[in-house]
């Protein structure tokens, strides 16, 4: 790769090439959305500057910006893929699988089959969810997609969100019709082949749009997995729109390769009396950054945000959350926990904004970090910004090692040092795993966490 004038230049070139090649059949509004996003990305650039760069104070993206990532080649397909390690322990799921950013129909259950791929998937609303490809939904100009795509995680989010939007071609579109309750999990699986050198590092732009109608209910699992341990870059954006009274549970399981860059932007918008539960579990990646924003736009909306991040090796995990109490009578509850071992670094910045007039807000936030090695580091910034007086807002943060008294207690009961430590660590993460309501998803996540923790 020849040296480029700016780190953004290769992306501009790739954008022009992609728009030139195969964008002709996309609707005009989508092409415009992409073009605007590219302009925005070019304007903002990668957040590599250190000075005055509060949002990226703890996370240095220069290694990412200076790596040349290419789109995965079309013939890079995985061929036959054994999905059994990623199967959810339940008989029925709505499953969409993407491999290196491309839809893998042979691995997906939704849409039901190749033959059924037609517009009726998106327009004939029955008593089930609509789980389909974003590319097709856009192609058929599904009004909900037109209405919401790129409208929430817009330019204000970050340069990485703009970059994703600039390259949005495919992804998952999930729509739960009004009053529909979906008992089985909706499973969106993004697999990177992660080929090691000499394969060139690749970039994918997973995109998800979830629209939950009035009084609907569903569980969505977003899973990021890797088959190899090569260098690649996942730039994901998820937009979640919860209608009045909707109950939505979103779980993100991130298990990228130890050399991968994973940057995600999630924007949740909640209407009256909606309840959203978000659980983010980070077990992989080399440099990981999540920006999760929740707009509590109408009274009665409530959100619970839970997160667990596991640091080993040189992993850097940065969770930025922002809860915007825009109106009176909404509530938020947030618990993030980190376990940091070896030379890893965990960052948590939780910002809660209570806007003028947002009376009767209840907002609680806790961040706890367990440091297990001399080289590990935890940075935490629980941030409250409050412009209304009749509110109850608390936040807490703690950083420390395993409690020596608890360790001693276990050992005095005849439990060995390693087993005692493992027990305490498992106890520490239990709260987060248990916040997943769906049995199958919880069991699956629990196994993933247990495997990642090893024996201690």
């Amino acid at each position: 790769m020849s040296p480029q004038a700016t780190p953004e230049a290769p992306y501009v070139a790739a954008f022009e090439a992609a728009e030139h090649d195969g964008a002709a059949h996309d609707p005009a509004w989508l092409r415009e959305l992409r073009r605007d996003a590219m302009a925005e990305f070019t304007r903002a650039g990668f957040p590599t500057a250190r000075r005055g760069n509060e949002a990226w104070k703890y996370t240095d993206v220069r290694p990412l910006a200076s790596t040349a990532f290419a789109a995965p080649a079309p013939d890079d397909g995985p061929g036959e893929l054994d999905l059994s390690p990623y199967e959810l322990p339940c008989p029925r799921v709505h499953q969409l699988v993407f491999v290196d950013g491309r839809y893998a129909p042979q691995l997906s259950t939704d849409p039901p089959s190749e033959g059924a791929r037609s517009s009726h998937v998106f327009f004939e609303r029955g008593d089930g969810p609509i789980v389909g490809r974003l590319a097709e939904a856009a192609h058929y100009d599904v009004p909900l997609v037109h209405e919401h795509l790129g409208k929430h995680a817009g330019a204000a989010a970050s340069a990485f969100a703009s970059l994703n939007t600039a390259f949005v071609r495919d992804g998952a579109f999930v729509s739960i019709p009004d009053g529909v309750s979906v008992p089985e999990p909706i499973y969106l699986l993004f697999i990177s082949t992660g080929r090691p050198e000499p394969a060139a590092p690749t970039v994918t732009y997973p995109r998800v749009l979830i629209v939950a109608g009035r009084d609907s209910s569903a569980t969505v699992l977003l899973s990021f997995e890797s088959l190899g341990d090569g260098v690649y870059f996942t730039d994901a954006v998820t937009e979640v729109v919860a209608g009045p009274g909707a109950k939505l549970r979103c779980i993100t399981l991130q298990r990228e390769s130890t050399a991968a860059y994973h940057i995600s932007t999630t924007q949740v918008v909640q209407a009256r009396d909606s309840a959203v539960s978000s659980v983010t579990i980070d077990l992989g990646g080399s440099l990981v950054r999540h920006d999760l924003s929740v707009l509590l736009a109408e009274p009665g909306a409530s959100v619970s945000l839970n997160g667990l991040y596991l640091g080993t090796g040189n992993r850097h995990v940065d969770n930025h959350t922002f809860v915007d109490h825009a109106v009176a009578g909404a509530s938020s509850d947030e618990v993030y926990k980190g376990i940091l071992d070896e030379s890893s670094r965990g960052v948590f910045v939780g910002h809660v904004l209570v806007r003028p007039g947002a009376q009767h807000t209840v907002a609680h936030q806790v961040n706890k970090n367990l440091l297990l090695s001399d080289e590990a580091e935890a940075d935490t910034q629980p941030k409250l910004e409050i412009f209304a007086d009749d509110v109850t807002c608390t936040h807490g943060a703690a950083v420390g090692a395993l409690d020596p008294a608890a360790l001693f207690y276990l050992k005095s009961r005849g439990i060995g040092e390693a087993a005692a430590r493992a027990l305490l660590v498992h106890g520490f993460v239990r709260e987060i795993v248990d916040s997943i309501a769906n049995d199958a998803v919880r069991q699956y996540a629990d196994e993933a966490v247990t495997a990642a923790l090893g024996t201690g």
């Binding site: 440091l371 409050i386 109850t392 950083v399 090692a401």
Partner: protein
């Protein structure tokens, strides 16, 4: 229960110290230049090394100014400050070497009398030694002889530069270098006066040492510099108070305070900050942009900051402690009250460097009227700080629905054996508590006052008695009639 009326009433509280003293002053022409820096230095008959230091600071500041590196990260807003429009030196004339109180301008004496500051000889019995700073110069330092008997040096910085250059040279800028930040650079270039305290090894200072800062001249800034050194095993308690006349224009106060404690030494530093806050519409008032930092250089040493911030249009202040010596202790107790259009962005930095260092942060913010109050703090545990401990508690109280309370703590931990805990809460005065007090026969006002007293108690009880009384009175005065 919140009534617009009481909030308005609250915002309309008169500022008691808003009068001016009619005294002839010598003022430097407005503007900042190398010439002015040299002029101030010459005025003070400073040695060459200090002038050089000032000039280095001046060049650094001008570079920052040119690169527009003025700090913008704080949660405050104000029009850009024109550094060429203000005067950097104002002193009452004639400036004599004062031997006794008789030689102090009678007008100035009356000023301090009105402020309730004991400069009079007989009041020295009150157990407080006072350095009185009027605009840019120290006009009187009391109880010097009593202190000198124990080897304690208590004088203005200007005097210390002449009498004890070796101490000043060694410690000036050792905790807050001129390159530390924008306003520290400005202060280092043009600092006028301030207090200098040195406590020799093993001495427990018998008096409370106090400095009272008064801004009087119009169109001038105050840039004082305070340096306190507590040598091995010594102890000193230092109090600082301040006020300024009511004016429509904003005045800049950019001070630097440096504290150093050696092995087993302790410094307690208390501030009651009551600069003119501006009127109810936010016109006028002092911009209080202050850098305060202590260094626990020795083992088992301790630095404790206590502040009650009720004044200033804008407060930008982070009294910090570098916990360098093993087992050293840092404390920060703060009450910040904003009312009217006041803005406060204040907090602390506790930097744990040595082993088994511990720090405590208690911050109580009260917001009323259209005020905005931000706690901003950093707790940093460096890799070598084995066994470090920090406990932070930040509480905010909101009175009225037009004010804001914000909490921005930064916690950075690089050592696994340390433990850091942070807790914060934001609420209004509990209606239940007010009701309970009222049904016991207290008026709504008295109930409110009682609850607020309880809210700030953890901090106010750290103050020396006279100051605690003063602090409670100030808070009560400012919140009279403000039923939440």
């Amino acid at each position: 229960m919140t009534s617009k009326e009481t909030v308005r009433e609250l915002a309309a509280q008169p500022y008691k110290y808003g009068w001016t003293t009619d005294v002839e002053e010598e003022t430097a022409p407005p503007g900042l230049s190398e010439e002015i820096v040299r002029w101030i230095s010459a005025k003070k008959e400073e040695p060459e090394w200090l002038l050089e230091w000032r000039l280095r600071a001046f060049r650094h500041f001008m570079k920052l100014l040119e690169d527009q590196q003025n700090p913008t990260w704080a949660n405050i807003s104000h029009p850009p400050i024109d550094f060429q429009a203000m005067s950097y030196y104002a002193a009452p004339k004639p400036k004599l070497e004062l031997e006794s109180l008789d030689q102090v301008d009678a007008e100035i004496l009356r000023t301090y009398e009105k402020l309730g500051i004991p400069l009079q000889e007989q009041k020295r019995l009150a157990g407080v030694a006072v350095d009185a700073i009027f605009d840019s110069v120290s006009v009187m330092t009391t109880a010097k002889e009593t202190l000198a008997k124990q080897g304690i040096i208590f004088s203005s910085v200007s005097e210390a530069v002449r009498e004890h250059p070796e101490l000043v040279k060694k410690y000036l800028g050792s905790v807050v270098p001129y390159s530390d930040n924008f306003y520290a650079a400005l202060n280092s270039a043009v600092f006028s006066d301030g207090s200098f305290v040195y406590i020799p090894p093993g001495v427990r200072c018998p008096l409370e040492i106090s400095t009272y800062f008064r801004i009087n001249a119009e169109g001038s800034g105050q840039f004082e510099r305070t340096l306190i050194i507590a040598d091995r095993g010594s102890y000193v308690s230092y109090l600082e108070g301040c006020s300024a006349p009511m004016r429509d224009t904003n005045q800049l106060h950019a001070a630097v305070v440096e504290l150093v404690t050696m092995d087993d030494a302790e410094i307690k530093y208390a501030t009651i900050q009551n600069w003119y806050p501006g009127d109810a519409d936010g016109k006028g008032g002092i911009y209080n942009f202050v850098t305060k930092r202590g260094k626990c250089a020795g083992r088992n040493s301790k630095i404790s900051w206590t502040q009650v911030e009720t004044g200033s249009a804008i407060t930008w202040k982070y009294p910090s402690v570098l916990l360098q010596g093993d087992n050293s202790v840092g404390e920060f107790y703060s009450v910040a009250l904003v009312n009217g259009r006041q803005q406060a962005d204040t907090g602390t930095k506790m930097i744990h460097i040595g082993k088994n260092t511990s720090s405590t942060i208690i911050s109580k913010g009260i917001s009323a009227g259209h005020g905005n109050n931000t706690y901003r703090g950093l707790v940093k545990i460096l890799p070598k700080a084995t066994g470090a401990r920090n406990i932070t508690r930040c509480d905010s109280l909101l009175i009225g629905d037009q004010c804001g309370a914000h909490t921005v703590p930064y916690i950075e931990v690089e050592n696994p054996s340390s433990s850091v805990e942070h807790e914060a809460s934001t609420t209004k005065v509990s209606e239940e508590q007010v009701f309970y007090a009222q049904q016991r026969g207290l008026s709504a006002d008295a109930a409110q006052s009682l609850i607020i007293n309880g809210f700030v108690r953890d901090v106010v009880k750290r103050l020396p008695l006279e100051f605690a009384v003063e602090a409670n009175r100030l808070l009560e005065l400012n919140l009279e009639g403000a039923v939440g």
